[in-house]
């Protein structure tokens, strides 16, 4: 087993055993293909996303954790949020520039939950329609410009 598989296996076990609130991993799919995970996420009660359900997709390369995972929202319900494009791409610095191998699937999920929870107004990013038309399929290929840290 390669180092990346060893680590993914460990992360999968602990995420299935003790998932953070509102987060569940599709264990069957992930154990069949360790490099592609689907994670179900519920909007936190008391926030703008209460009662909503989202799906997150994680893609890993064999360089993980030295290389960050490719994380996008998939499915019918993409959260309406100033940092989430309607094609599912997420503008979050820890997914590219600020990635560190000390981060994990769990910590990325928690960052996304907290990003959603702290949202004050449901709206798409200002450049949404232009970005969605012109972007690469892989959000990691985008040169993100992190406009604000407040949300």
């Amino acid at each position: 087993m390669s180092p990346s598989e060893r680590r993914l296996q460990k992360e999968l076990m602990s995420l299935m055993k003790e998932p953070p609130p509102g987060v569940t991993v599709d264990g069957d799919q992930a154990s069949q293909n360790l490099t592609l995970w689907t994670i179900h996420m519920e909007g936190v009660p008391g926030t703008l996303y209460e009662g909503e359900k989202f799906e997150l997709q994680f893609k890993f390369t064999n360089k993980y954790p030295f290389d960050s995972p490719e994380v996008t929202f998939i499915g019918n319900n993409i959260p309406v949020h100033p940092h989430v494009y309607s094609n599912g791409h997420i503008c979050l610095s820890i997914l590219t520039d600020d990635w560190s191998p000390a981060l994990s699937v769990q910590s990325v999920c928690l960052s996304i939950v907290s990003m959603l929870s702290s949202c004050k107004e449901k709206k798409r990013p200002p450049d949404n329609s232009f970005y969605v038309k012109t972007c690469n399929k892989n959000p990691k290929k985008t040169k993100w410009w992190y406009h604000d840290d407040s949300v």
């Binding site: 060893r6 460990k10 954790p65 030295f66 560190s100 191998p101 000390a102």
Partner: protein, 313 residues
Amino acid sequence: MNKAQCLRNVLESKEFNTLPIFLKGVASLIDGDESIKLESISSYLVDSQFLSELKDPIHGVDFAFGDSLRDVKCTLKDEESRLHELYITYEGVKKLKITSGDIPYAPFLDQCFSNVEELVGAFFRHVRSLQSYFYELENIDNNCVILDPIKPTFKDNFRNIRIDDKTWLYVEVTLDGYPSNMHLIGQSEVWQGKLQNGILNWDHDKNIVENITSIFDLNDHSISYKSLSEAIKPCDAEVKDDIICGICFCSELPDNLSVPQPLCQNLNCDVHFHKSCLFQWLVACEGGRPPSFGIINGSCPTCLQPISCSNNN
């Protein structure tokens, strides 16, 4: 099939792969028949001279067969009653090779020997010259808490000694029994001055452990140290499992024996890393360019404070 033929079958059969089972097989054949002697058997595996050499006891040496008659484990007792294990392979008539032993590498280990006595003699001569090396390592192992290697043997010429929760002392022992390349690993600011002073005032009449305990003022609790570590021995394995590398999330690496170390200098950062994992990450941060002098700087993956790492051991 005559009895000699049966005996040859026993010698060459895979079923008789341990010494007791093998001897039982031979005994059942020889039983009551004085005409067959072990020496009269020739086998394509080993020659009778080799077998008869193993039959004649050499003082302080025990032999046991391994997977086949060609692989022999010798247990040797040196003058100080230390037991050493040496694995030898029979490669052909008058060709004996040492496959592994519990001593650091020495050129004679690569030599080819014509008989067991010659090989054992060379080993004893070498071991005699290593007495101070063994003594110092044994003393460290008996008096200090060793964090790395996990199972220290005489083959490892270094020890990582626990000074406190976040500080390890690395020391290498030369074949003459002198310390070398001593340095601190981890959040060592408090101890750094002491180590530098201590190295300048090293007392060569005392052994390594005595010097270390006086350098770091461990005098009072050096004994409690060991007894403490023995007291927690039962859960030791558990404790070791808990220390995982902040990068690969494992405690053991598949390809090397190193353990996660407290490499971050930030006193509030509790994370351990395998040196090789941290090195790989810091090199990746620099765009994959390996550092010119073997030491790379960057920031800790966990707390983002400055951290440095070398790629040796």
